[in-house]
């Protein structure tokens, strides 16, 4: 999950994921959408691949990339975890506050 978060924290990588979510694109086609260098795009694609967010397929001399939908299961779990953590914090704060109120009257 940490690799996923690191991968997604970079705006260019989020844009790349948007480009390849509905179909395969070559590294060159992806790079054409950006002002940054081709090696920089290759580096981003490597990070996305290692995070399990894109699949890479070779076709002749081309490497084709496509978003990997299974990555979503982890992301959904993360979202649920977000609210679990926040609601856990709410519970702790409420119980702490209740203890303070009662403590003053004991």
């Amino acid at each position: 999950m940490e690799a996923t978060l690191r991968a997604i924290a970079e705006p260019h990588r989020r844009q790349i994921l948007g480009l390849v979510r509905d179909g395969e694109l070559s590294a060159g086609e992806i790079a054409a959408h950006f002002d940054v260098t081709r090696p920089a795009i290759s580096q981003h694609l490597n990070v996305l691949k290692e995070a399990g967010l894109v699949n890479e397929r070779r076709n002749g001399t081309k490497r084709l990339y496509r978003a990997r939908p299974e990555g979503l299961a982890e992301i959904k779990a993360f979202l649920e975890g977000f609210w679990d953590v926040r609601l856990g914090a709410l519970k702790r704060e409420a119980e702490s506050e209740e203890g303070t109120k009662h403590g003053r009257h004991d």
């Binding site: 978060l5 979503l72 979202l79 649920e80 609210w83 953590v85 609601l87 409420a94």
Partner: protein, 154 residues
């Protein structure tokens, strides 16, 4: 919007050893809400009033209070101001119901209107949604120390 776009909800129940009144204050008092979510908050806790919560630096959630029935039921919309998110303010809804349970409170939580996993796999909206949420988590640096993940409030 694609008519086949499905939505799903995150549903939780939390048992809290505090009165509904105490829990309610933490939900609607802008000075108290940041003790469990976000860093800064501005609130207009009345139906139709808006709120903004700076969840982490650079990422702000915004919405509108729909229903305020203290200390029982709170309904508000939820979305991100981030440019990269299609979960715009108003696009999802959170409903919190506080039910007295002995000396404490049973909190019912439902965040609805989220793209379902199935539709997310085939719809741009779903992807954008989840990616934007992840971006929030990743924004601001080392996700390994992100308080959302280790459960710490900061």
């Amino acid at each position: 919007m694609d008519a086949t776009t499905e939505t799903t909800a995150i549903v939780r129940e939390v048992s809290i050893a505090a009165s509904p009144e105490t829990v309610w204050e933490l939900l609607v008092d802008p000075d108290k809400v940041t003790r469990w979510i976000g860093e800064q908050a501005t609130f207009e806790p009345r139906p139709g009033g808006t709120y903004r919560i700076g969840v982490v630096p650079g990422h702000t959630a915004r919405g509108e209070f729909v229903e305020i029935d203290p200390p029982h039921r709170l309904v508000f919309t939820w979305g991100w101001e981030d440019d990269s998110s299609v979960v715009t303010p108003g696009s999802t809804t959170i409903e919190i119901v506080l039910e007295p349970q002995g000396d404490g409170t049973l909190l019912h939580f439902e965040h609805s209107g989220l793209p379902s996993k199935d539709s997310a796999e085939s719809h741009a909206h779903g992807w954008d949604h989840y990616l934007a949420r992840l971006a929030v988590a990743g924004g601001g640096g080392d996700p390994g120390r992100d308080p959302w993940l280790d459960g710490d409030r900061s």
